[in-house]
């Protein structure tokens, strides 16, 4: 049975205020996280009140409060709009994106006491990937995803003449989601690991799903490529701006001279496979989505591998030791100075110093990575298809 349609096509007039606010909230979270990581690498000493933390909290508060306002408005003051365009949740009504944002804000809130206990029990921020940090990551990913949904439904409700600004808002917040995935995979993505299969495996898992979902749901011409370029620009600005500020380590031991904030590594070149993803998704023929996923998976890995195999060699070379690529600037104060900084690593080291051999890249290894990328892309197609239809 099809859904009843009680009203005519939706009319969207102007850009709602909350689109701006949640775009700012998403930006705060992305900037705050990168600043925080740089803070840890440069200064080391961490408190609840560091400026980087404040920016992250601001992002969480902006997203959470904005969503709560939307929910209260729909539930108590604009019930008709709530019934017509909201989603019900435990007796309240609000936009789908607002619910996801609120969930994300609560998850971020939950991570705070958990992380504090974790520090006391196991030591301060030993690794980025820890259970409380994953709760926090789930929180900010949900918050940014909620922001995407809030702008997406505006795009999906718009007619041709008013669609563009919403598509840009949506693609921008999507780019922030890519950035979050890049931040989460930092420990697996050091340039020194780009000749190991682990880097390609984690990239195949993390990126196709997001790029494909954006490609299918955004109404821009080159959605995945645009989002990948926005992410790159965002990251590059952090690479170029952070070292302009003075910073000094405040924790021992300090194994290298650090005088300015440490920038993140130069961004992975996602726009190249993103072009291929856009081309494959936008193909006019009626390609089966399973075959499309396989094509995306194989193409993604092939392009990503070729590009990064050689680009990483460049990043480790002397030619990249400048302000633009910051190949010589992105090591923390606790990393000893040595030739290993500019070599490809054969081992990874766990917190307690156990060496773990990294897997060399092989043809069969790349094939297995392609399968992961294809599965990631298939999930992205499902997800993108749903987002393409989201109206509330």
């Amino acid at each position: 049975m099809s859904d009843d349609l009680n009203h005519g096509p939706p009319q969207v007039s102007g850009i709602p205020w909350y689109c701006y606010v949640i775009a700012i909230a998403s930006t705060c979270i992305a900037v705050g996280l990168q600043w925080d990581i740089s803070w840890h690498m440069t200064i080391g000493r961490d408190t609840f009140w560091t400026p980087a933390h404040m920016v992250i909290y601001l992002g969480g508060i902006l997203g959470g409060v904005t969503s709560a306002v939307l929910v209260f408005k729909m539930t108590f003051f604009d019930k008709n709009e709530g019934i017509n365009s909201g989603v019900r949740f435990w007796g309240f009504t609000g936009p789908m994106g607002a619910w996801v944002c609120i969930w994300g804000a609560v998850a971020m809130l939950t991570s705070a006491p958990f992380d504090d206990w974790w520090h006391n029990a196991y030591g301060l921020d030993v690794e980025i990937i820890s259970p409380p940090h994953m709760v926090l990551a789930a929180g900010f990913i949900a918050l940014v995803f909620g922001a995407m949904l809030l702008t997406l439904v505006q795009q999906n409700r718009s007619n041709v003449s008013s669609i563009k600004p919403f598509s840009w808002f949506y693609t921008y917040t999507s780019a922030i989601l890519i950035l979050l995935m890049v931040i989460l995979t930092t420990e697996y993505s050091f340039t020194n690991k780009h000749h190991s299969l682990e880097f390609y495996r984690i990239s195949a898992l993390a990126y196709p799903v997001v790029l494909v979902a954006i490609g299918r749901s955004s109404k821009l011409k080159w959605p995945a490529t645009t989002a990948a370029l926005i992410y790159m620009l965002h990251r590059c600005i952090m690479v170029w701006v952070l070292p302009l500020f003075e910073g000094q380590p405040l924790l021992a031991p300090i194994y290298r001279e650090v005088t300015h904030f440490i920038p993140p590594p130069f961004p992975v070149l996602l726009f190249i496979p993103a072009v291929a993803i856009d081309l494959i998704i936008l193909r006019p023929d009626r390609m089966n989505d399973w075959i499309r996923s396989l094509a995306i998976g194989l193409t993604f890995v092939l392009l990503f591998f070729i590009v990064h195999w050689y680009f990483s060699e460049f990043l480790l070379s002397e030619s990249a030791r400048n302000w633009f690529f910051s190949g010589h600037l992105n090591k923390p104060y606790w990393a000893r100075v040595g030739p290993y900084e500019y070599e490809f690593w054969e081992y990874d080291y766990k917190v307690f110093g156990h060496p773990i051999p990294l897997t060399p890249v092989s043809l069969t290894g790349l094939f297995s990575v392609s399968i992961i990328a294809a599965i990631s892309a298939r999930v992205g197609l499902w997800w993108g298809q749903w987002m393409r239809q989201a109206k509330r």
């Binding site: 049975m1 099809s2 859904d3 009843d4 349609l5 009680n6 009203h7 939706p10 080391g44 000493r45 019934i83 017509n84 365009s85 909201g86 989603v87 019900r88 949740f89 435990w90 789908m96 619910w99 996801v100 969930w103 609560v106 998850a107 809130l109 939950t110 006491p113 958990f114 206990w117 520090h119 006391n120 029990a121 196991y122 030591g123 301060l124 921020d125 030993v126 820890s130 259970p131 994953m134 949904l149 409700r157 000094q248 380590p249 405040l250 924790l251 021992a252 031991p253 300090i254 194994y255 606790w334 766990k350 917190v351 307690f352 749903w386 239809q389 989201a390 109206k391 509330r392």
Partner: protein
Amino acid sequence: MDETGKKMKNKLSILILLGCASLSIAHVGSLNVFYEGKAGTYPIRVIIRPPGVVPGLAEITVRSLGKGVERVTVQPVKWDAGPEGAPPPDVAVNVSGDKTLFSSELWLMDFGSYSVNVDVYGEQGHGRSIVPVSSIATRKLEMSPALKGILIFLMIFLFSGGITIIGAAVRESTLELGSKASKERKRKSRVSMLFGTLIFVGLLSGGRMWWTSIDNEYQENLFKPIEVTSEVISKNDTRILQISITDEKWKKGLYPPLIPDHGKIMHTYFMRIPGLDAFSHIHPVAIDQDQNTFQVIVPPLPGGDFVLFADITHESGFAQTLIDTVTVPEYSGLEFLEDLHIDRDPDDSWKMGYPLPDIDLDSPVRSSDLVNGKFLMEWLNLPDRIIAEKEVELSFKVTDITRGHLSLEPYMGMLSHAGILRTDGSVFLHLHPIGSISMASQQRFEQQSGVNARIESMHDGHMDHSKHMGNEMHRTSESVSYPPIEFPRSGQYRIWVQVKVRGEVLTGIFDLYVHPPILS
């Protein structure tokens, strides 16, 4: 409390409880560092309370014991990074209401040997003390019931909220505006919530497994002292204690070599269990170049089961206590020391005391006479009740009953040595008048910093310990003071205090009961 309850019927079970002693660095059962000395001309007392996790925040308090101190800074230095790898010093904040007390927090970011530069500024200029501290993980923090409750509540909220969002997304998010969800959508919504539940349960289970594996790895990497095995071998009818390092990390060269601490490579407290009646303070020597095996002539004490606590210091400045038990054959009454490959160290000392008594909880300390009524040792300023985790003054006065005046002499460069043992073996402290630090470690860091470095005097391998003879402010010729210490746990303790008078080492024994902390 009835009469029976007032009596501590504590007969040692060290053999069983030695497992409790696995958290040992320079001491057993407590990471806290107590130090008393001079920063330039300023007498100070320093207490460092390491966090027990790495990286973590240690607390440091600095008390000025003199006048004219205006400002105190503290700076942690990791041994392999040196002063140039140290961050700028932090100002220790003056504790309100007490002009002589300063406190700060210290960030210990890495495992291993650190020192803390304590810089004091005031009317008489600047002075520095260097206090070594070991950064190790020793504890596992349990989650409080309140926090557990909050997190479970939030987890339930996120779990049910997440599933509700999934259901709502399928049911309504793609509906055209103004339309209502069909039965088909509602059915799909319920199915998706079921799948969502499975996914959330899977995520939670995976998270739990991940947490458990991290916890197991953490537990495996909690600090354990170097493993040793001990035996007593007989040569020329003489009993020789042999301590062999069996630890794999040591054999792989992961620990730096050992350095002497006030002239000895190993300081060992060796006591008969369970009564702790036979006591000795002996100094095994390495008999091989790799420092794998150490030997010492067992003092002329009766045989039985013995426990040993052996303090060592590594080249990095890291100090730790090795622990083992060993059975010693009965003493034959004869010793042939002349033809042995090792000598009895002239600084070895021993005493045949008496077994642990029943302790009356209302009368916390029972002390012994030193030498059959000839000398007496008295604990000065003894509080009525000794409470765990509260500072206790350790000042002792020695009286010669027969001859009146006496003057304490240096014993291994110190005015006194004290061993403090919780009778179940879970706490052991080796103290000097300068505190609980390893002096070898302190000297290592002083040499590294180039500040106030003392050079080992070449004659007889002994160091110059004039600075370590005790706190001038509290010392007379008949008494000795240690920095106030905190007993980490309640229970029965025995303290051996050693001094030297007229060339003879005297050992005083004190038995006491430490009461649990008072909960406010």
